[in-house]
Subunit: 438 residues, 2 copies
């Protein structure tokens, strides 16, 4: 397999026809990869209390078990009236009504409204029988304790919310595959649904490989570097609704890696192995994956830069991913491909995953690009008088500082030789860490 990322002359190491076929057919374009990833789905469902359901994805349609609101309510402070009694009323000729009581909050009204009568009511109060509208306080003037002048006509149902105006009993309130937002939780609270059926959060087993990698608590010796991917990929999982399960550092050897991958498959819904930008470790990762029962290789290399040496396969319903060891490459692959994968594993309905927020911006200089691959260019964003401006961050792609300086990525598509200064581009923003994820 060595030859896959090298020129054709290394193809010689592919010893079988099957290997050769794989060579030609497993290097995928980004759209093909996304299509393959859309075949994965959530692993199961569970019930969560409402307090704990923000961002979770519904595993069933939710139906209103009752009307919301359950009774007719006033939307203003004023007097509940029969609209007909106010018809024709105006500043110069107010309607004169008799005040026959008051609606107390949280109680059924004790009085009914008959012709010529009015009942005092507050915002949210229950409309008494007989009344069909509410005159706002500012158009009402008490002459004495009982006599009320109304200086503006109201139409039937004016300033009234009817039972079921929010949600009618039996109506679908929220649909399977929907991520729960603040207001969605509010509607469920209003309906008394204190527990909701949601898909299980995907659990992601993370393995960092590489003989040169040491834990961040250790002082690296010569030739050693600290384990960065554990933290970037762990945080990436959390901000996309998944639960990282860090299995540990793995040396570049077959048996320990195989043990860890098997542990990951047993304990998690997907296994991500980072490391292996060098030929030997790429081969090692693939070698281990290929010994798994029922393993199917889906992607061996993606025609992108950075991030080309990415491996994706499946063992039954569980995706396995081999990521480049370079943190910047791994992060680009994560943003572009693993985010949609996590949407699928979380149960978000097709095409409505959360996604990066995409901003339109004007490029402030030319960027060259090789055709035949999609280039993901890091850009800074800033506001200028011409609008949002995208300023490419240059620097070697292996440097994490280029990502720290960047606000997002711009894709230069396959058959494009570059982008021009002044061109409008779509920027996939890095919008994490900006809200506060707990």
């Amino acid at each position: 397999m060595t030859g896959i990322f090298g020129p054709l002359k290394s193809v010689g190491v592919l010893t079988t026809d099957k290997g050769l076929m794989e060579f030609f057919f497993k290097v995928k374009e980004p759209t093909e990869v996304l299509e393959l990833l859309s075949g994965f789905g959530p692993s199961g469902e569970e019930k969560r209390p409402l307090e704990d359901a923000l961002g979770r994805v519904l595993s069933r349609d939710l139906v209103a078990p009752e009307n919301l609101p359950p009774f007719a309510r006033s939307t203003v402070d004023g007097y509940a009236v029969r609209a007909k009694d106010t018809f024709g009323a105006g500043e110069s000729l107010p309607a004169l009504l008799e005040v026959c009581g008051e609606v107390l909050m949280g109680e059924a009204p004790m009085v009914e409204v008959s012709q010529g009568q009015a009942v005092k009511i507050s915002t949210g109060g229950m409309i008494p029988k007989g009344a069909d509208a509410v005159s706002m306080l500012e158009y009402c003037q008490l002459l004495d304790e009982q006599a009320l002048e109304v200086s503006r006509a109201v139409s039937p149902l004016e300033n009234v919310i009817q039972p079921g105006d929010d949600f009618r009993k039996g109506a679908v309130v929220l649909m399977k595959g929907q991520g729960l937002r603040t207001q969605d939780l509010g509607s469920l609270a209003g309906l008394g649904l204190g527990e909701v059926p949601v898909f299980k959060r995907p659990r992601v087993a993370l393995i960092s490989t590489g003989d040169e990698i040491v834990d961040i608590t250790q002082r690296p010796g010569p030739g050693q570097v600290r384990d960065i991917n554990r933290y970037t990929l762990g945080a990436f999982c959390r901000r996309n609704g998944a639960e990282p399960l860090y299995l540990g550092l793995c040396p570049d050897r077959f048996d320990p890696l195989k043990d860890m991958v098997q542990e990951g498959l047993a304990r998690a819904d997907t296994v991500w192995i980072s490391g292996g930008s060098s030929v030997g470790t790429r081969d090692l990762t693939l070698g281990v994956l290929e010994t798994l029962p029922g393993f199917e290789l889906l992607v061996h290399g993606i025609s992108i830069s950075p991030g080309k040496p990415t491996i994706i396969g499946r063992a039954g319903p569980k995706p396995l991913v081999g990521l480049p060891g370079h943190v910047a490459s791994a992060m680009v692959v994560a943003e572009v491909f693993l985010m949609p994968l996590l949407w699928r594993l979380s149960g978000h309905k097709q095409g409505t995953g959360p996604g990066q927020s995409v901003a339109e911006a004007v490029l402030n200089r030319n960027i060259e690009s090789a055709s035949g691959r999609v280039d993901y260019v890091r850009v800074r964003l800033f506001e200028a008088k011409e609008g949002l401006v995208a300023d490419p961050v240059f620097g070697k792609s292996g440097l994490i500082s280029t990502l720290v300086e960047a606000d997002g990525l711009v894709a230069i598509e396959m058959n494009t030789e570059g982008l021009y200064k002044g061109q409008k581009v779509k920027v996939m923003r890095f919008n994490d860490g900006k809200g506060g994820l707990s």
Copy 2:
């Protein structure tokens, strides 16, 4: 104070000149409110482990304690060489070098590279002494175990990351007030900074008032409704990096409300009281706040719709907020004003808070609006061939279903009578619940 949200004729109930002055000066425009809110800040700092720092805000500048990377590394698989030895090399006239060893990952090279020599190296390997560049594997051909042909020249430092290329010792890596993103955590991991100084998360005491409100576990009787704001405001806090502290339901009575507000001030950094859209409860909330030692009223009413009857004050460094009871109004106020407030309390540096993501869209119909206030209109968003389209959600503003159907808010500014079909508008997106907040 009753008159504040009514017409001038109710001003008669303001019995003092001071009251009258407040009437005229405390109803604020949105920009004034945002200006006032920018005066609040975080309550303190703490140290957090890196695994737990996503989205947290740095309370100090962080400086690189060492170079990253600590040594020169190869960015490719190939052979470490002296660039000079390859000058002039090409397909037709390759340079011939002697392979004198291999760099093992995670170890200091055992060999040096002298003139005419090459050392095998993998991506991430430590550049051996004497070498200043790496020839990529695909331009190298082994003739036998020692003789190597290099068919392309490399320039000095080609395919090499130098010590400190990512971060130089002593350089500021990340600045105070910055929210920590995935890649930021990665850079800190790389530098061995396993614990970071961050501002404390703001703790928000939530109180739901109203005699008509019952807990969602209860079946509401006639005239009663369930407590929605607890869930919407609680989730709102969490998705904006704050910790909600739910104090409970409070009847519309002075003493219990005062007790709860005092408890909130003792235990939290800010107190939010929801409820009180009706005149009586608004007065009650303000009455309680005014008895707090050192209380200063900042805002009594905002010239917006919905959400006008909002009260904001301070007790020392702690903001106190009285929100309308209508969940939809409360949510608009939260999105527009309390999100920036939470940025301040979280320590985000001025002007760089996380914010809603703002999308540009084309309005698909006319919307009327009263001038003299800012209207926040709920809109659905969908993609069409003309780009993103904003479709207003109509319906009474008190209905939570209008927010459930909406994807964001469009502001119709103060002195505008409306917006026109086909006009470009900025949409403050509701982007929560879409990523997965834990």
